[in-house]
């Protein structure tokens, strides 16, 4: 219990600015993606173990709530990927970049690139959602 409080207050109280935000976003997006991945492996395996349940799962995924979650998930996947690439590149090939100024600059680049990839994808997914669930755009 003590270690839980110490770790959580450290996560939230440490004012490391961009470096700390990138650490927190990486963890949250990774845990969110991992949670979905676990569910997704199991629901996909229904195609063999219980085909009718697979169609139930797909119906759930087609709901509006799941559709909004899907848009968030895609941001998590893009952000975690770009930030992971940044971490892997620094760690494996260019450790001299692990400095505070470079951390600050590359955090904003990472966020900007993620948004640039996410916005068009989110627009298409929301378009499909409104079309299929609300009959907009001639759906």
């Amino acid at each position: 219990m003590a270690s839980l409080v110490t770790t959580l207050s450290g996560y939230l109280g440490y004012r490391g600015r961009e470096g700390q935000w990138s650490f927190l976003l990486h963890r949250i997006s990774g845990l969110g993606t991992g949670l979905f991945l676990t569910i997704h492996i199991l629901d996909t395996s229904f195609v063999y173990f219980a085909p009718s349940l697979y169609m139930e799962a797909i119906k759930l995924y087609q709901s509006t709530l799941a559709g909004v979650g899907e848009v968030v998930l895609v941001f998590c996947v893009f952000y975690h990927g770009i930030n992971g690439l940044r971490v892997a590149y620094f760690d494996l090939f260019a450790p001299k970049n692990w400095t505070i100024p470079s951390e600050r600059k590359t955090f904003w680049w990472t966020l900007g690139l993620s948004l640039a990839m996410w916005l068009p994808a989110a627009a298409i997914m929301l378009f499909n959602l409104l079309k299929n669930n609300y009959g907009l755009f001639g759906g």
Partner: protein, 130 residues
């Protein structure tokens, strides 16, 4: 501001070093695999066009079955080790970490096996698919 000095240190070749490398090298492979999968399935095809027939058609291709097998192998192991790293921040005792390691290993093995069986066996429905 003075530039940070990067210190080089020798680290032992143990499991933690292997896991550290695994996270980074699997990440390089996961970029095309996961982004390709997400862009194709969520954005281009879309969840409203999915059903058993779609999966059967997709898995009729050996390429896509291999693609999904790589996703299952690399993405899930990457994710489980990530969960282990996060929980190691909260669990500090050697015994607690050992229990966590074993529990996550069993969980990883069970879910991976379920996924692998479905991937090898394919869609369990009589043709023609509805």
């Amino acid at each position: 501001m003075a530039a940070n000095k990067v210190r080089e240190a020798k680290t032992p070749n143990n499991y933690e070093k292997f896991a550290w490398k695994w996270m980074r090298y699997s990440a390089l492979l996961l970029i095309p695999l996961v982004w390709g999968h997400v862009i194709l399935q969520d954005v281009v095809v879309g969840v409203h066009n999915m059903n058993l027939g779609y999966v059967a058609e997709r898995w009729a291709s050996l390429f896509w079955r291999g693609f999904d097998a790589l996703l299952l192998a690399f993405a899930f192991a990457h994710g489980i080790n990530g969960v282990r790293q996060v929980l190691n921040d909260f669990i500090h005792s050697d015994q607690g970490r050992r229990i966590l390691f074993i529990a996550l290993f069993i969980f990883w093995l069970a879910v991976s096996l379920i996924g692998l069986i479905a991937l090898l066996a394919g869609v369990g429905q009589q043709f023609p698919l509805k």
